[in-house]
């Protein structure tokens, strides 16, 4: 494990993902600092909601992080794939795979360590995202009550979460995102077993994510019932559930509550099941693979 992490940290490619996140976050922060008011006006217009709040205070660190996560968590799978899809195929490409496999470590161990390393990379990526998108935004924009713009069916709505009820939701959301992105890491690892260079598995991972995401967004009942529940992409954005606050009978929000915790829990279970299944398949395939590279 130590060896695997050492290799990851020594590769220049590793830092591309961190640099990309930093750049995107800075651009968002700069844009909102310069002209956040216009964005807020636009959102209020589309929300068509009668909601009284100070639009300047609304653009705070919590709100910024939510906006950034909404954008970034769709692109981050590509960054995760950059590293995870290189796990086995990169070794095959360099010619080091045959050295690894001829050492007294089992192939199961190799896959588990590669998977663990990809997971740790994913965690670090999300921690970095938290540092830049959340904590840096708090430094730049300050804190305050958080507004969440939401579309539910055909209805657009705005929810307000008090500032003392926000941080735990972010911790939970980042933890959920880690699980979701670990599915991507596992998928990339599996695909990397079949290739002798990392470009193929990276592209294949991205294609699978795109195709499954499109299918997950098709609103046709037969797909809703028979396909979507089995696609991991249907659960990738489940982290948003932590920002959907529960309400009482009068429609007032309840501090510390979640609108639908069972749905979040089920989504997590399904994602974990995907991880176990994909890593299991990876081990089975790799154990039988002839190393010809």
């Amino acid at each position: 494990m130590q060896i695997e992490l050492f290799k990851i940290t020594r590769r220049p490619r590793t830092y591309i993902a961190f640099a990309a996140i930093t750049a995107i976050v800075f651009i968002f922060q700069f844009a909102f600092k310069a002209d956040g008011q216009s964005y807020m006006d636009l959102m209020m217009q589309s929300a068509k909601d009668e909601f009284a709040f100070d639009r300047v205070e609304a653009i705070n660190g919590y709100f910024m992080c939510y906006i950034i996560l909404n954008t970034l968590l769709i692109q981050v799978p590509i960054l995760v794939a950059l590293i995870a899809a290189d796990s086995i195929s990169g070794e095959a490409n360099m010619g080091t795979l045959r050295l690894l496999v001829s050492k007294p470590v089992s192939r199961t161990q190799i896959i588990l360590v590669k998977f663990a390393a990809a997971t740790i990379f994913t965690i670090f990526l999300l921690v970095w995202m938290a540092v830049t998108a959340l904590f840096l935004s708090i430094v730049i924009f300050g804190t305050g009550d958080m507004l969440v713009f939401r579309t539910k069916g055909t209805e657009s709505m705005i929810m307000q979460i008090t500032k003392d009820d926000v941080m735990w939701r972010y911790y939970a959301a980042f933890a959920y995102a880690t699980v979701a992105l670990t599915v991507i890491a596992a998928l990339s690892l599996l695909l990397s077993i079949f290739a002798d260079n990392s470009i193929g598995p990276i592209i294949a991972t991205v294609c699978i994510v795109i195709v499954c995401t499109i299918i997950s967004n098709i609103n046709v009942p037969i797909i809703d019932r028979n396909v979507k529940p089995f696609l991991f992409t249907s659960y990738l954005v489940g982290w948003k559930g932590f920002f959907y606050i529960g309400t009482n009978e009068n429609g007032n929000t309840i501090k510390g509550s979640l609108e639908n915790w069972p749905a979040i829990r089920n989504s997590l279970m399904i994602l974990i099941a995907h991880i176990v299944l994909i890593v299991g398949i990876s081990i089975a395939v790799f154990r039988k693979k002839d190393i010809l590279s």
Partner: protein, 309 residues
């Protein structure tokens, strides 16, 4: 002398293609064992099966008396290998490459151990340089260091002189001889450069299309009986007629009119007879090197089969 490696009736098929076809051989403790064959003969596939990179279709491989598929870790802990090109992590230094593979071999790593190893292959000055900037020769030496760092009993080197310049080849040969003579290692060296193998191996096998052609001690296979004599004269046709009508007719090779296969001790008599027959000789080349032998085996299958029988 105990057998370190016993390969029995090994078969590997890739779809309809049989890469290794019922191969059997034995490597004894302390041997420098030459594993010879032309490109595509099945050498690398066999070595990869010995290192569990490829699963055999049939047959068994026992190393240190244990079946490789059932005692993989035990065996690989005592085995060092360099398989074809010594590709390493280009973005890591020689020292870090060595450190990684030493740890993976399950040994306790110290700076002294690693530096000693690098010194043995002449890379101590380049310890901190990235492997990506190494010349082929330096990579080859680092590959050897990786193969030896955990002090294995068995060393398998697949085409170790590939891409090396003459000095590099000589260095590699000396290193292998040192491993065998001074450190008592058992070495399997695969190559298609027979001139290299004959200088360092004590036993050898020649394989062709996945099958064993011949196996034995280099001394046996360099039997003077198999001396090849090539003759060149000012009039080759007349010389051929002279030889065909003499006692030397039995030694003439069918495909090459002026090549004879005989015992080395008979060569002076042949020359005397040619001179007595007024043949104007341009050259007489007698050789029984492994190179010549190997070429004769791989170019003339009827001879191959006759020899194998």
């Amino acid at each position: 002398m105990s057998a370190i490696v016993s390969v029995d009736n090994l078969v590997k098929q890739f779809g309809n293609f049989t890469a290794v076809d019922g191969l059997s051989f034995t490597v004894n403790e302390g041997d420098v064992y030459g594993f010879l064959g032309q490109n595509g003969a099945g050498k690398s596939t066999t070595i990869r099966m010995m290192l569990t990179l490829i699963k055999p279709t049939a047959g068994s491989i026992k190393i240190f008396g244990k079946e490789i598929l059932h005692h993989r870790s035990d065996i690989l802990r005592q085995t060092g290998a360099m398989i074809e090109r010594p590709d390493l992590y280009k973005y890591l230094s020689a020292y870090n490459n060595l450190s990684i593979f030493a740890k993976m071999s399950g040994i306790k790593v110290s700076k002294k151990l690693l530096m000693d190893q690098l010194e043995m292959v002449g890379l101590q000055e380049a310890a901190d340089k990235k492997a990506g900037v190494f010349s082929q020769g330096m990579k080859q030496r680092l590959g050897i260091a990786v193969a030896l760092v955990h002090n294995p009993k068995l060393i398998i080197l697949d085409e170790p002189t590939n891409g090396l310049d003459p000095q590099g080849i000589a260095d590699m040969r000396n290193l292998i001889l040192r491993l065998s003579n001074e450190m008592g290692k058992t070495v399997i060296i695969s190559s298609h450069l027979l001139s290299e193998v004959e200088q360092i191996a004590n036993r050898m096998i020649i394989i062709d299309r996945g099958k064993k052609i011949v196996e034995g001690s280099v001394e046996e296979l360099l039997d003077p009986e198999h001396t090849v004599v090539d003759i060149d004269t000012t009039n080759n046709e007349a010389t051929q007629q002279l030889l065909a009508s003499s006692k030397w007719n039995d030694y003439l090779q069918a495909e090459k009119p002026l090549q004879l296969m005989m015992n080395k001790t008979q060569v002076p008599a042949l020359i005397n007879d040619l001179v007595a027959g007024n043949v104007q000789l341009l050259s007489v080349k007698a050789s029984h090197s492994l190179e010549n032998y190997f070429l004769s085996l791989t170019t003339r299958h009827e001879h191959v089969e006759a020899f194998a029988n």
